[in-house]
């Protein structure tokens, strides 16, 4: 008996092919990942625009109008897309991973291809949001002083600052979603209980420490001093940690029903 040598065929199918194939796998049904979220965005925009239009039409004094415009800037209308992308990430790990395993993809190739898909989506969507923000400015808030893409919290006037903020927030939601789903795929319901129990204890523990050391004012000062831009930057720490832990968890995970 001889054993078939693999080397010839192994070199014929390098795993970079399978990383790219996994990347494509996330877009095979692009309606869910790309079309639907932007249709929702368009609908929300339309409803918001109607509201801006009605408010600005009904206000006559200049000070009221200025007040209203200031208020429009505190909108959270486009935040859903970040949560939507977190759900995309959860589904990618929870459901696309088992399919990729059936297709004979290694966990490593799957994780690389999936991360590539997340980064690509984050970059593409951030670019679109940045462009929309500039259009919003150029058209004086879509003709009615509204704001959905230039928000008071994000600030930034330079295009790359805006792009950077959107990008970092997208990456945060993608990798938090992927890591949480990886815990589920590996340890199932028990893993979820343990994860949220630990998370809850950490939050309540931190609060207790802050209370005991009477450092709540310092905490508040830190948030004020750091600002939204600083906080977004700090989010890179949990994002990077999620990306690393997501891999460490998934590399020993087995999809089960």
């Amino acid at each position: 008996m001889t054993t078939i040598a693999l080397s010839r065929s192994a070199s014929r199918t390098p795993s970079s092919n399978r990383v790219l194939a996994t990347f494509r796998l996330h877009f095979v049904n692009y309606e869910t990942v790309v079309v639907l979220p932007w249709l929702i965005m368009a609908f929300i925009f339309f409803v918001n625009w109607m509201i801006w239009w009605m408010i600005t039409r009904s206000l006559t004094s200049a000070t009221d109008l200025a007040d209203a415009r200031e208020g429009f800037g505190w909108s959270g209308a486009m935040f859903f897309i970040f949560v939507y992308m977190m759900v995309v990430a959860v589904q990618a790990v929870n459901l696309t991973f088992p399919l990729a395993q059936g297709y004979g993809v290694t966990r490593r190739d799957f994780y690389l291809g999936t991360s590539l898909a997340f980064v690509m989506l984050a970059v593409a969507f951030s670019l679109v949001l940045t462009v929309l923000a500039f259009v919003e400015e150029a058209t004086d808030g879509w003709g009615v002083g509204g704001s959905m893409f230039t928000l008071n919290y994000f600030g930034g006037d330079v295009w790359y600052e805006r792009l950077w903020m959107f990008l970092v927030v997208f990456l945060f939601f993608f990798f938090i979603g992927a890591a949480t789903a990886a815990i589920y795929v590996r340890w199932h319901t028990k893993g979820m209980y343990a994860f949220f129990a630990v998370l809850g204890l950490l939050v309540i523990g931190s609060a207790a420490v802050a209370t005991l050391t009477r450092s709540w004012p310092a905490v508040g000062d830190w948030f004020v001093a750091t600002g939204v831009e600083g906080l977004v930057l700090w989010s890179l720490v949990p994002t990077a940690a999620s990306a690393v832990f997501g891999w460490l968890i998934l590399r020993r995970a087995t999809p089960r029903e």
Binding site: L6, Y103, G104, R108, P255, E257
Partner: protein, 296 residues
């Protein structure tokens, strides 16, 4: 003969439960092997171990001469669509058949199309809304059209009707003749596939109880029937796999009989009958004696 799968002393434990217990088997290239056994016997776990989806507890696994775990070169040549395969919520069959060719270099789109027609699979209905049989058809089509050098079918036809099952057997044999490859098939419907199989592995409670060529197995057991006293005299000292009695008559399943045995049996006025593969599996997986365990 080339060996595609070589497993030695393989065990898989989940906590205190031993799913696979010291298994050693070898499967040759370009053969159809039946992996048979009862529910929970370890068939799916075995296939998951062979495709690197599960991690072994001890022992060694060689697929195409290498450890399959996280081995792109090995896994790129295998296809394993489980009976319980999960698909993304929003997927329709069309998404599976569009993406599968990216992963299987030998994918035959024309063959996949013919199979879709054969199984009358609606391509644009959400997978979640398909019937159990239609869900199975997706796995069967991927398994066949991928033409992976090593293809695993795990209970491939759960919910498929008799016509669809026959279609599966026919297409598998036709395609296998034209494109030889190594197929491992797990199933409960043993009689239906017994003509298909060249090699049979029966697993029970994580152990291999039968491992042999289908041909060998066909005459590895016989049933001796007749007057109880005559049957008892004949089977004395033989390994008894199964025994049924009715009044003064007895029917006993014993191991292999040689020409002299057969002559002796007919001289004693006993009737001899072959034992079907399904009967053999039932006999070997219901006995809980250590003797039954060792039979192979």
């Amino acid at each position: 003969m080339n060996t595609v799968i070589e497993v030695a002393g393989l065990s898989k434990r989940f906590g205190g439960f031993t799913a696979i217990d010291d298994v050693s088997i070898a499967i040759e290239e370009n053969s159809i092997t039946g992996l048979l056994g009862r529910n929970g016997a370890g068939k799916t776990t075995m296939m998951q171990l062979l495709t690197g989806q599960e991690f072994r507890s001890s022992g060694s696994i060689r697929v195409f001469g290498e450890d399959p775990v996280e081995n792109s070169g090995v896994l790129a040549r295998t296809c394993f669509v489980k009976e319980s395969q999960k698909y993304p919520d929003d997927y329709k069959p069309v998404h599976v058949f569009r993406s599968a060719p990216w992963f299987f270099p030998n994918w035959d789109a024309g063959f996949a199309e013919r199979l879709v027609a054969d199984f009358r699979l609606p391509l644009t209905r959400r997978i979640k809304k398909l019937s159990r049989g239609q869900l199975s058809a997706i796995g069967v089509i991927v398994g066949l059209a991928s033409r992976a050098p090593l293809t695993f079918f795990d209970e491939p036809y759960l919910g498929l009707d008799a016509v669809a099952r026959q279609t599966f057997y026919d297409r598998l044999l036709e395609d296998y003749a034209e494109h030889p490859r190594t197929v491992v098939l797990s199933t409960h419907l043993i009689d239906e596939v017994s003509d298909l199989l060249e090699h049979v592995v029966v697993i029970d409670e994580g152990r291999i109880v039968i491992d042999g060529s289908a041909e060998e197995l066909r005459d590895s057991a016989s049933t001796v029937a007749g007057a109880r006293t005559a049957v008892d005299a004949f089977v004395a000292g033989r390994r008894v796999l199964h025994r049924e009695e009715l009044g003064g008559l007895a029917s006993v399943t014993v191991g292999r009989l040689d020409a002299a045995d057969r002559k002796a049996a007919s001289a004693a006025g006993l009737e001899l009958a072959g034992v079907s593969l399904q009967q053999l599996v039932i006999r070997t997986t219901t006995t809980d004696t250590s003797e039954g365990r060792r039979s192979a």
